[in-house]
Amino acid sequence: MARALVHMPAFARRGAVIEIRALIGHPMEIGYRPGADGKVLGRDIIRRFTCRYNGEIVFAAELQQAIAANPYIAFYTRALETGSLEFTWEGDSGFAHAETMPITVTG
Protein backbone atom coordinates (compact mmCIF):
# COMPACT_ATOMS: atom_id res chain seq x y z
CA MET A 1 0.00 0.00 0.00
CA ALA A 2 1.39 3.27 -1.03
CA ARG A 3 1.69 6.19 1.30
CA ALA A 4 0.11 9.41 0.10
CA LEU A 5 0.03 12.89 1.60
CA VAL A 6 -2.47 15.58 0.67
CA HIS A 7 -2.11 19.10 2.02
CA MET A 8 -5.09 21.41 1.72
CA PRO A 9 -7.07 23.72 3.98
CA ALA A 10 -9.83 22.06 6.00
CA PHE A 11 -11.86 25.29 6.09
CA ALA A 12 -12.38 27.87 3.35
CA ARG A 13 -14.66 30.77 2.51
CA ARG A 14 -17.10 30.18 -0.35
CA GLY A 15 -15.44 31.04 -3.65
CA ALA A 16 -11.94 31.08 -2.21
CA VAL A 17 -9.19 29.61 -4.38
CA ILE A 18 -7.39 26.93 -2.36
CA GLU A 19 -4.08 25.26 -3.03
CA ILE A 20 -3.91 21.47 -2.97
CA ARG A 21 -0.61 19.62 -2.80
CA ALA A 22 -0.61 15.87 -3.37
CA LEU A 23 2.38 13.58 -2.90
CA ILE A 24 2.49 9.79 -3.19
CA GLY A 25 5.29 7.32 -2.60
CA HIS A 26 5.97 5.49 -5.87
CA PRO A 27 9.23 4.57 -7.70
CA MET A 28 7.95 5.68 -11.16
CA GLU A 29 10.23 3.04 -12.74
CA ILE A 30 10.87 4.29 -16.27
CA GLY A 31 11.31 0.90 -17.91
CA TYR A 32 14.73 1.63 -19.45
CA ARG A 33 17.10 1.12 -16.52
CA PRO A 34 18.95 -2.11 -15.77
CA GLY A 35 18.35 -3.61 -12.34
CA ALA A 36 20.90 -5.20 -10.00
CA ASP A 37 20.88 -8.38 -12.16
CA GLY A 38 21.59 -6.45 -15.37
CA LYS A 39 18.12 -7.04 -16.79
CA VAL A 40 16.03 -4.03 -17.77
CA LEU A 41 13.39 -3.31 -15.14
CA GLY A 42 9.85 -3.22 -16.47
CA ARG A 43 7.98 0.04 -16.58
CA ASP A 44 5.99 0.76 -13.42
CA ILE A 45 4.59 4.28 -13.28
CA ILE A 46 1.47 6.09 -12.17
CA ARG A 47 -0.45 6.92 -15.33
CA ARG A 48 -3.25 9.06 -14.02
CA PHE A 49 -4.08 11.30 -11.08
CA THR A 50 -7.60 12.60 -10.56
CA CYS A 51 -9.11 15.02 -8.04
CA ARG A 52 -12.89 14.96 -7.57
CA TYR A 53 -14.77 17.61 -5.59
CA ASN A 54 -18.02 16.06 -4.37
CA GLY A 55 -17.86 13.64 -7.29
CA GLU A 56 -17.05 16.19 -10.01
CA ILE A 57 -13.59 16.03 -11.60
CA VAL A 58 -11.88 19.37 -10.95
CA PHE A 59 -8.31 18.39 -11.85
CA ALA A 60 -6.64 15.47 -13.62
CA ALA A 61 -3.14 14.64 -14.77
CA GLU A 62 -1.78 12.12 -17.26
CA LEU A 63 1.74 11.28 -16.16
CA GLN A 64 4.62 9.85 -18.15
CA GLN A 65 8.04 8.48 -17.24
CA ALA A 66 9.53 11.98 -17.08
CA ILE A 67 7.68 12.65 -13.83
CA ALA A 68 10.09 12.17 -10.92
CA ALA A 69 9.75 9.35 -8.41
CA ASN A 70 7.24 10.01 -5.62
CA PRO A 71 5.04 12.17 -7.85
CA TYR A 72 4.21 15.59 -6.39
CA ILE A 73 1.46 17.67 -7.95
CA ALA A 74 0.30 21.05 -6.67
CA PHE A 75 -2.75 22.78 -8.14
CA TYR A 76 -5.65 25.06 -7.24
CA THR A 77 -9.39 24.78 -7.09
CA ARG A 78 -12.29 26.93 -5.95
CA ALA A 79 -14.01 26.03 -2.69
CA LEU A 80 -17.71 26.00 -3.60
CA GLU A 81 -19.49 23.75 -1.13
CA THR A 82 -18.89 21.73 2.01
CA GLY A 83 -18.07 18.13 1.28
CA SER A 84 -15.04 16.10 0.41
CA LEU A 85 -12.29 15.91 -2.16
CA GLU A 86 -11.32 12.51 -3.43
CA PHE A 87 -7.87 11.91 -4.86
CA THR A 88 -7.09 8.82 -6.92
CA TRP A 89 -3.84 7.58 -8.42
CA GLU A 90 -3.90 4.80 -11.03
CA GLY A 91 -0.90 3.16 -12.59
CA ASP A 92 0.78 0.16 -14.17
CA SER A 93 0.23 -3.39 -12.91
CA GLY A 94 -3.09 -2.46 -11.35
CA PHE A 95 -1.74 0.22 -9.02
CA ALA A 96 -4.54 2.18 -7.41
CA HIS A 97 -4.66 4.43 -4.38
CA ALA A 98 -7.32 6.79 -3.09
CA GLU A 99 -7.42 9.47 -0.41
CA THR A 100 -10.36 11.53 0.79
CA MET A 101 -10.11 14.92 2.50
CA PRO A 102 -13.03 16.77 4.04
CA ILE A 103 -13.56 20.47 3.46
CA THR A 104 -15.90 22.84 5.28
CA VAL A 105 -16.98 25.90 3.30
CA THR A 106 -18.35 28.89 5.19
CA GLY A 107 -19.85 32.20 4.16
Binding site: P34, A61, E62, Q65, A68, I73, Y76
Partner: protein, 157 residues
Protein backbone atom coordinates in the same frame (compact mmCIF):
# COMPACT_ATOMS: atom_id res chain seq x y z
CA UNK B 1 65.18 -0.44 -45.71
CA UNK B 2 64.14 -4.02 -45.75
CA UNK B 3 61.31 -5.34 -47.83
CA UNK B 4 57.97 -4.15 -46.57
CA UNK B 5 56.16 -6.70 -44.53
CA UNK B 6 52.85 -7.92 -45.85
CA UNK B 7 50.09 -5.90 -44.23
CA UNK B 8 48.95 -7.58 -41.07
CA UNK B 9 45.31 -8.16 -41.84
CA UNK B 10 44.86 -10.28 -38.74
CA UNK B 11 45.36 -7.17 -36.59
CA UNK B 12 42.64 -5.36 -38.54
CA UNK B 13 40.30 -8.28 -38.14
CA UNK B 14 40.88 -8.30 -34.40
CA UNK B 15 40.33 -4.54 -34.20
CA UNK B 16 37.16 -4.76 -36.25
CA UNK B 17 36.01 -7.57 -33.99
CA UNK B 18 36.68 -5.42 -30.94
CA UNK B 19 34.64 -2.65 -32.52
CA UNK B 20 31.72 -4.95 -33.10
CA UNK B 21 32.03 -6.28 -29.57
CA UNK B 22 32.02 -2.75 -28.17
CA UNK B 23 28.91 -1.96 -30.19
CA UNK B 24 27.28 -5.04 -28.76
CA UNK B 25 28.12 -3.90 -25.24
CA UNK B 26 26.55 -0.45 -25.63
CA UNK B 27 23.46 -0.53 -23.42
CA UNK B 28 20.25 -0.65 -25.37
CA UNK B 29 18.98 2.90 -24.94
CA UNK B 30 15.52 3.76 -26.17
CA UNK B 31 15.25 5.96 -29.21
CA UNK B 32 15.50 9.36 -27.60
CA UNK B 33 13.27 12.34 -28.11
CA UNK B 34 14.54 14.90 -30.59
CA UNK B 35 13.42 18.46 -31.27
CA UNK B 36 11.49 17.03 -34.24
CA UNK B 37 9.76 14.43 -32.08
CA UNK B 38 8.89 17.13 -29.55
CA UNK B 39 7.42 19.27 -32.33
CA UNK B 40 5.39 16.27 -33.47
CA UNK B 41 4.18 15.63 -29.90
CA UNK B 42 3.17 19.28 -29.53
CA UNK B 43 1.34 19.15 -32.88
CA UNK B 44 -0.48 16.03 -31.70
CA UNK B 45 -1.60 17.87 -28.54
CA UNK B 46 -2.69 21.02 -30.38
CA UNK B 47 -4.22 19.17 -33.31
CA UNK B 48 -1.89 20.98 -35.70
CA UNK B 49 -2.53 24.48 -34.38
CA UNK B 50 0.59 26.55 -33.74
CA UNK B 51 0.70 27.76 -30.12
CA UNK B 52 1.31 31.48 -29.60
CA UNK B 53 4.22 32.27 -27.27
CA UNK B 54 3.49 34.43 -24.24
CA UNK B 55 0.79 35.10 -21.62
CA UNK B 56 2.02 32.12 -19.66
CA UNK B 57 5.12 31.20 -17.69
CA UNK B 58 7.12 28.00 -17.33
CA UNK B 59 9.18 28.46 -14.19
CA UNK B 60 12.21 26.24 -13.77
CA UNK B 61 15.76 26.83 -12.60
CA UNK B 62 18.14 27.53 -15.49
CA UNK B 63 20.86 25.43 -13.85
CA UNK B 64 19.81 22.16 -12.21
CA UNK B 65 22.17 20.08 -10.05
CA UNK B 66 20.18 16.86 -10.06
CA UNK B 67 18.10 15.85 -13.06
CA UNK B 68 16.22 13.23 -11.06
CA UNK B 69 13.91 15.77 -9.45
CA UNK B 70 13.52 19.13 -11.11
CA UNK B 71 10.76 21.31 -9.62
CA UNK B 72 8.77 23.16 -12.26
CA UNK B 73 5.75 25.44 -12.15
CA UNK B 74 3.48 26.48 -15.01
CA UNK B 75 1.33 29.59 -14.66
CA UNK B 76 -1.09 30.86 -17.28
CA UNK B 77 -2.48 34.42 -17.27
CA UNK B 78 -6.20 33.75 -17.26
CA UNK B 79 -9.14 35.03 -15.21
CA UNK B 80 -10.46 31.43 -15.10
CA UNK B 81 -14.06 32.40 -15.80
CA UNK B 82 -16.64 30.33 -17.68
CA UNK B 83 -15.76 32.18 -20.90
CA UNK B 84 -12.00 32.50 -20.51
CA UNK B 85 -10.20 29.62 -18.84
CA UNK B 86 -7.36 27.16 -19.27
CA UNK B 87 -8.59 23.71 -20.29
CA UNK B 88 -5.30 21.83 -20.21
CA UNK B 89 -1.56 22.27 -19.81
CA UNK B 90 0.94 19.90 -21.42
CA UNK B 91 4.68 19.67 -20.79
CA UNK B 92 7.22 18.51 -23.36
CA UNK B 93 10.99 18.00 -23.52
CA UNK B 94 13.35 17.46 -26.41
CA UNK B 95 16.06 15.12 -25.08
CA UNK B 96 14.51 12.62 -22.65
CA UNK B 97 13.73 9.11 -23.94
CA UNK B 98 10.16 10.28 -24.57
CA UNK B 99 9.08 13.80 -25.66
CA UNK B 100 6.01 13.90 -23.39
CA UNK B 101 6.12 14.69 -19.66
CA UNK B 102 2.56 15.16 -18.48
CA UNK B 103 -0.83 16.58 -19.44
CA UNK B 104 -2.85 18.39 -16.76
CA UNK B 105 -6.57 18.85 -17.23
CA UNK B 106 -7.97 21.97 -15.61
CA UNK B 107 -11.22 23.84 -16.06
CA UNK B 108 -13.02 27.04 -15.19
CA UNK B 109 -13.47 25.72 -11.63
CA UNK B 110 -9.74 25.69 -10.97
CA UNK B 111 -9.79 29.38 -10.01
CA UNK B 112 -6.12 29.72 -10.84
CA UNK B 113 -4.12 28.18 -13.68
CA UNK B 114 -1.05 27.26 -11.68
CA UNK B 115 0.39 23.73 -11.58
CA UNK B 116 3.62 22.56 -9.97
CA UNK B 117 5.33 19.20 -10.14
CA UNK B 118 8.76 17.58 -10.20
CA UNK B 119 10.18 16.07 -13.35
CA UNK B 120 13.20 14.10 -14.58
CA UNK B 121 15.65 15.45 -17.10
CA UNK B 122 18.06 13.16 -18.94
CA UNK B 123 20.32 15.99 -20.07
CA UNK B 124 20.50 19.74 -20.66
CA UNK B 125 17.62 20.61 -22.93
CA UNK B 126 14.66 22.78 -23.72
CA UNK B 127 11.33 22.33 -21.93
CA UNK B 128 8.10 23.52 -23.47
CA UNK B 129 4.75 24.10 -21.78
CA UNK B 130 1.66 24.39 -23.98
CA UNK B 131 -1.71 25.54 -22.65
CA UNK B 132 -5.03 24.81 -24.32
CA UNK B 133 -7.51 27.58 -23.57
CA UNK B 134 -11.28 27.15 -23.30
CA UNK B 135 -11.74 28.64 -26.79
CA UNK B 136 -9.35 25.99 -28.20
CA UNK B 137 -6.53 28.46 -28.78
CA UNK B 138 -3.03 27.50 -27.67
CA UNK B 139 -0.26 29.30 -25.84
CA UNK B 140 3.26 28.21 -25.10
CA UNK B 141 6.37 29.09 -23.16
CA UNK B 142 9.73 27.38 -23.23
CA UNK B 143 12.77 27.32 -20.98
CA UNK B 144 16.33 26.13 -21.53
CA UNK B 145 17.73 24.16 -18.61
CA UNK B 146 21.31 23.05 -17.97
CA UNK B 147 21.48 19.77 -16.04
CA UNK B 148 24.61 18.78 -14.10
CA UNK B 149 23.63 15.25 -12.98
CA UNK B 150 21.44 13.49 -15.51
CA UNK B 151 18.51 11.27 -14.69
CA UNK B 152 17.65 7.99 -16.44
CA UNK B 153 21.24 6.80 -16.90
CA UNK B 154 22.49 4.88 -13.92
CA UNK B 155 21.01 1.52 -13.04
CA UNK B 156 19.67 0.43 -9.71
CA UNK B 157 22.19 0.85 -6.88
Amino acid sequence: MTATKPIDHARRTVLAGLGTLALGLVPVLPAGATPEKMAAAIAAFTGGAVPVPGKMMLEVASLVDNGNTVPITVRVDSPMTASDYVAAIALFNERNPDPGIAVFTLGARAGKADVSTRIRMATSQKLVAVARMGDNSFRMHSADVVVALAACIEGEA
